[in-house]
Amino acid sequence: MRSIRTRAAALPSSPLEPGSGPARARERTGQGTGRGSRSALCLWLPTFELRLELVRSPALDSTSVALLSSEGGTRRTLWQVSERAAEAGVRPGQLVSQAVSLCPALTLLEPDPAHYDAAQDALLEVLSVLTPVVEPAGRGRIFLGMDGLGRLYGSPRHQVRRVLSALFRVLPAPLVAATRAGLAPGRFAAWVAAAGALAGEPVIVPEDALRPFLAGRPVSALPVDETVLERLDRLGVRTLGELLRIPAPALVAQFGEQGARARAWAAGERIDPVRPWHRPRPVRATLDFPVPVGQVETLHGALDRLLERALAKSERRGRSVAAARVVGRLEGGGSWMVEAVLRDPSGHREALAFVLRTRMGLAPPPRAVETLTVEFYHFGPPADQGALFDRKDDAGRELSEGEIPYSLRSAVRELKLRLGHSPLYRVVEVDPMSRIPERRHALLSFDP
């Protein structure tokens, strides 16, 4: 396989940033805490998604190929480009029109997120057999906790070799060969090692060599704001070693808390352990359309139905939903996906539908959808059921006496479908003035 250019000029964004949706959701829900593993192995397969596409269509390997970004609209941009396309001046982030004028033979591919996620899941599955501490940091980038594995797999070099050989079970040989690996104390150093490693040549950094190793690495590896990196560049600070020559008070005065953290990383004083990734079993609901659907209104209707079904599933166990995705299988192959991480986890259909519809509006499916799936993949604390008794309709109108809220009516319908009868009861007065308590009220079955 030909080598492929990465999207960013120097190093891609650091996996230590709380950038990815699941990571943010995990932080909010308090999952994934604990001591973690100090010894970290970072596996990184640059342009993971484009490589998977080229594996699927080997004929494209010798052509100029670019993967489109998933953001829709009329001004679509490129996400990842092959080396041949890069030689013609095509760059990630470029508009499609610009790219095609530079390289008329450019083959444009729609992203297939479901395919990429399946490959990532397969990787995680295989790696979790080797170590219980596995932490993904976006597609194609995974941290493994290696503490205590020496007695199982031998020296650090043998440990890395063992992990890489396990990848053959789920990835074709060219992709395994292209995987970069870095073993070092803490995630930051492991990531820096992997980013600087050559394919097939893992970089192993022992504890006592950490500081000199980091000193020669570019500051762009630091997980700090882009503005901090720009200012460091303007100050002529190129490497982490040069950063350490700036006195600590001056760094803090210039960059505040970020300056202090950057210094701690650069000096090898801050070691972020790999935390075991907790992945709750997702809750899914799927709808197959009899004919492919391209109309937004129909998709929104289907989304509502699927949300209702997914929320009603017993495996949700009353938990609120912190992150959800909508995946569509497209007519003619490929997939489309939008994800949403909720600021406030919710168990209400309307709240989830609003967020997902907004995402669908920003990135609509590029072609008609054959199958639509709603998946809840991160959960928050148990959801309250206050909306069941909300006395307002969808438009915010106050319900009159005797009117049953829609949410309560649909909950009863769902329960009847499952149980054959409504298990809900209404408290009614029988003899409220009776001296005998059990005769004052009774329960009357509620079936609107």
């Binding site: 408290v427 005998i436 308590p437 059990e438 009220h441 009774a442 329960l443 009357l444 079955s445 079936d447």
Partner: protein, 88 residues
């Protein structure tokens, strides 16, 4: 009202109760646990329906050692202690 089902609410259930010499509950078996009755807040008695099946109950609202209130009564006709709802 076809298809509607009606169920009783607040049906008493029999419990085992320990009491002192004055007949005041001192402990009650709730589930599998024995709970001490810290204090008895209120007591009253009802005698009713003497014209058909006579009903006589000696009620007590006690507070359990975990702070929960419990309404108990002693059936003066059939015997035995009963708990009626778990709120006061």
């Amino acid at each position: 009202m076809s298809g509607k089902r009606i169920r009783p609410l607040g049906t008493p259930r029999e419990v085992r109760v320990s009491m002192n010499t004055e007949g005041t509950p001192t402990a009650v078996v709730v589930g599998r646990r024995t709970r001490r009755v810290s204090t008895v807040r209120e007591r009253w008695r009802i005698d009713d329906e003497w014209w058909r099946t006579p009903l006589a109950r000696d009620y007590a609202v006690g507070v359990l050692d975990d702070g929960r209130p419990l309404t108990l009564y002693r059936d003066l006709v059939e015997g035995g202690w009963w708990v009626q709802g778990e709120e006061g």
